[in-house]
């Protein structure tokens, strides 16, 4: 009876995720009908673009089983670099690639230090992130940069639409599609996974694990600049706080996605980011201050990780069987 419908492996988790989305959306709509308004949905997609881009590079770092805590600082430094160049009157085709270059260079520095010089990832990235955040003050002594922003065309990135969707959201989906193909359908993606799963076995299989570890950090640095670029385009200014709000949603997106879909992957991060963005947006729509909503989202992240982690679930299941009356236990076994 229950067997009549055969679903591909892993679809159970995906259905659980969709149900969760429906429950959350329904709850917010009941509390605040504007949640489903066109305006709000468009805001969700825009915020999701920034969060999702930052989480994408982090996904690669997590797949090679490392941590990057520097990308918020990196994004900030890159944002001020872009702002400074725009204020100098440089065109976007110079300022934006310069910002992306900053992200790539800091990422490469992290990657080389961690893979080739075997420095501890957490400490190294905290240090480089702080240095980058400090350097961000150099251009303007910490003052907000806004000169030439209106005329530079960067605001168009925020307003532009493709097929009725905001450009940033389309860019997000496009980059995720490319990343999905790269990570799950090419030998390079397989090498990233092998590096993270068992670096010794990967090395013995001829996978250049240090290259892949380094590349993951480069990707993380670059995508954090993509994310902050959208924030710049939306606010029309660059200040030294840029990027500070990227860290928690990105980690929450990656790890909640992993918890939901059972393994770190491009799609898992997309799912996790979607849920996180929806929650953050819903809370701000309800007028809940960010210092509460961040806490709530982080708590949901913890709960998600606990309830979806296979080992912990087994543990809870074991406790469950001990709590059952003995007769019931026999029945479940038969």
């Amino acid at each position: 009876m229950t067997r009549s419908l055969v679903l591909p492996a892993g679809s159970g988790r995906f259905i659980a995720f969709l149900l969760l989305v429906v429950v959350v959306a329904t709850a917010f709509t009941l509390a605040e009908p504007r949640f489903l308004s066109t305006q709000n949905i468009s805001a969700v997609t825009r915020h999701m673009a920034a969060n999702g881009l930052a989480a994408l590079g982090l996904t690669l770092v997590v797949i090679v089983r490392k941590f990057d805590l520097s990308f918020a600082g990196t994004a900030c430094f890159a944002a001020m670099t872009i702002g400074y160049l725009i204020a100098l009157g440089q065109p976007l085709w110079i300022s934006i690639p310069a910002g992306i270059l900053v992200g790539a260079v800091i990422g490469a520095f992290n990657g080389v230090a961690i893979s080739y010089f075997r420095l501890p990832d957490i400490v190294t990235t905290i240090a480089t992130g702080s240095i980058a955040a400090g350097l961000a003050f150099v251009y303007s002594n910490g003052r907000t940069i806004f000169q030439n922003f209106m005329t530079s065309g960067i605001l168009d990135l925020n307003d532009a639409r493709v097929f009725g969707y905001s450009l940033s959201f389309v860019f997000l989906l496009g980059l995720y599609a490319v990343a999905w193909f790269f990570m799950h359908r090419t030998r390079y993606g397989a090498s990233f996974y092998a590096t993270g799963e068992n670096p010794v076995a990967a090395y013995y299989s001829g996978v250049p694990i240090k290259h892949y570890t380094m590349l993951a950090f480069v990707a993380c640095g670059m995508t954090s600049v993509f994310a902050v670029l959208l924030i710049l385009a939306e606010s029309g200014t660059a200040d030294t706080n840029e990027g500070a709000n990227l860290l928690m949603p990105a980690y929450a997106g990656v790890f909640l996605g992993t918890a939901l879909l059972g393994r770190t992957s491009v799609l898992a991060t997309l799912a996790g980011t979607f849920l996180i963005t929806m929650l953050l947006d819903g809370f701000s729509l309800l007028g809940i201050p960010f210092y509460y909503s961040d806490g709530v989202v982080s708590a949901i992240l913890l709960a998600g990780v606990v309830f979806f982690d296979a080992r912990l679930r087994d543990l809870l299941g074991d406790i469950g069987t001990y709590l059952q009356p003995r007769s019931a236990k026999k029945e479940t076994r038969a």
């Binding site: 492996a9 359908r185 090419t186 030998r187 390079y188 397989a190 090498s191 996974y193 092998a194 799963e197 068992n198 010794v200 076995a201 990967a202 090395y203 013995y204 299989s205 001829g206 996978v207 250049p208 076994r333």
Partner: protein, 506 residues
């Protein structure tokens, strides 16, 4: 007659649709060493897990000293006098032997500043050593200890409760050298004389004849034989046949025909790497299997890794197909056509949470993908299915994470990975550790098959394995190559060369 130390009657255990154990009757006499044999999946692990309280039996009765007991967890089993030493005992590396033995029951001085009383610990350990004399320095930390010393600490830890009557040892010798084994066997003998019954699981049949009084054989979840070792000896029974339930003519495939031996594919001259090994040289031909017998610490493992580019060499030369090479990484070695089946497959060979297809294709991703790097999913699956059939992978499920396979089948996946890599030289290190006799015969057959188109090197600390599989052999002793000048090698000669470092004259 007194009740036996332990008796099990009609034990059954099911896992879902699988009958892991059906109707097992078992008797363990007081003060005997009882070997438990069976291929992987025969039910012996399930059986000892029931005895030690890890699993609960579905049906049957377990009696200790004539009284029925019910074990819900390992603590219960220990309370009833049944202690177990796992295959890889969990010891705290930074603690001394004393501290590990009394872990969790340290003598604490009461009060606010309570701390471990080290003096008292060593006194209690001294009392334990008086009961079971064995030569060991317990003040060393576990990290400083050899494999056999760790095993001894684990056994003493299990025996630290004075009431223990039954000791279960799960493959205690799997990581031990020949010399270390004799030390362990001496301790087991002392335990036997002290009236403790030892239930001993092993894959190494020759050890059974050496140490056990009685043996029981499991096959397909049933106990198919239980007899005195003397009886096995008197009737000249084959343990391997008892385990497999079929006549086993040859575990090892036939040796290479002289005319099947081709050109030199790998030539090694005076290869030297620091303290690990020095001046090793040989020529390996296509069509033959070269066996290298070396104990732990002989330099065999390092030598294999040096050929594979994973550790640097200081001097000497390696030539493949007549061309000199100096691989600086496994990646370069693989490109030159050298494949290593590493000794520790779980650490060095497999990505355990990934599927068989992922693992099989990992060492040759170039072949597994198009020029643009896009994986050929259908082709890879087809190739993996073909290897799985050829190697009799069981279960033949290619989408399952490889952690779900037994040791023997995991090794088959590593070998399939080598087949997919299409190398000219295959190096097997300790290829059958933790592999049951059935899968072992399959693996040996495969090595022979591989040798028809490539050169094969087998390195092992099991002398019979090296002698049985290889066409030519030499031994490594403390990094020195010991090969007979006349090229003739008997099993005993090889054994002496590897253990003593000298050539005997027989």
């Amino acid at each position: 007659m007194a009740a036996p130390a332990l008796r099990a009657r009609a034990i059954s255990k099911r896992f879902g649709p699988v009958n892991a154990l059906s109707d097992v009757d078992f008797v363990l006499e007081t003060g005997e060493v009882h070997a438990l044999l069976g291929v992987n999946g025969a039910g012996k692990s399930t059986f000892i897990k029931i005895l030690s309280g890890i699993y609960r039996k579905d049906e049957g009765v377990i009696e200790v000293g004539g009284e029925a007991i019910d074990c819900r967890d390992p603590k219960d089993a220990i309370r009833h006098g049944i202690a177990t030493v796992q295959q890889h005992p969990e010891l705290v590396a930074d603690f001394s032997g004393y501290e590990n033995i009394f872990l969790g029951r340290e003598a604490m001085r009461p009060g606010l500043f309570s701390r471990i009383e080290r003096g008292d610990l060593s006194k209690r350990a001294g009392a334990l050593l008086k009961r079971f004399p064995v030569d060991i320095d317990l003040s060393k930390t576990i990290a400083e200890m050899s494999a056999v010393e760790r095993e001894i600490v684990a056994i003493l830890q299990a025996l630290a409760g004075d009431h223990i009557r039954v000791l279960i040892l799960d493959e205690p010798t799997s990581t031990l050298t020949e010399v270390e084994k004799t030390i362990l066997f001496r301790l087991i003998d002392t335990l036997r004389q002290g009236g403790i019954s030892v239930l001993y699981i092993t894959h190494r049949l020759e050890e059974v004849m050496e140490i056990a009084d009685r043996l029981s054989v499991f096959r397909g979840g049933r106990m198919v034989a239980s007899m005195l070792v003397d009886e096995v000896r008197a009737r000249n029974l084959s343990l391997a046949e008892l385990m497999l339930g079929e006549t086993l003519d040859h575990v090892f495939p036939p040796k290479a025909e002289p005319d099947a031996i081709g050109e030199e594919v790998l030539v090694v001259r005076d290869l030297t790497a620091g303290n690990s090994f020095a001046n090793i040289g040989f020529a390996l031909r296509r069509g033959e299997i070269l066996g290298i017998f070396g104990l732990v610490g002989s330099g065999a493992d390092e030598f294999a890794k040096a050929l594979f580019g994973a550790i640097p060499v200081e001097s000497g030369s390696i030539a493949i197909r007549g061309r000199p090479i100096a691989p600086r990484s496994p990646r370069e070695a693989l490109k030159e056509g050298i494949f290593l089946v590493p000794g520790d497959r779980r650490v060095e060979g497999l990505a355990l949470t990934e599927t068989s297809v992922f693992n099989i294709t990992l060492a040759n991703l170039k072949r597994a993908s198009s020029a643009a790097g896009i994986l050929k999913r259908t082709g890879n699956r087809r190739a993996s299915t073909e290897f799985a059939t050829r190697l009799a992978l069981s279960p033949p499920n290619l989408s399952m994470p490889v952690s779900g396979f037994s040791g023997g089948n995991q090794q088959k996946i590593v070998v399939a990975k080598g087949l997919f890599a299409e190398a000219d030289v295959y190096i097997f290190v300790e290829p059958t550790v933790g592999v049951d006799i059935g899968a072992r015969a399959k693996l040996y057959g495969l090595m022979r098959e591989l040798s028809r188109s490539a050169g094969v090197i087998v390195m092992s600390s099991d002398c019979d394995e090296v002698h049985g599989i290889a066409d030519r052999t030499f031994a490594l002793y403390k990094g020195r190559q010991i090969s007979p000048p006349d090229g003739l090698q008997t099993r005993n000669r090889l054994l002496m060369a590897g253990i003593m470092g000298e050539l005997s004259r027989d």
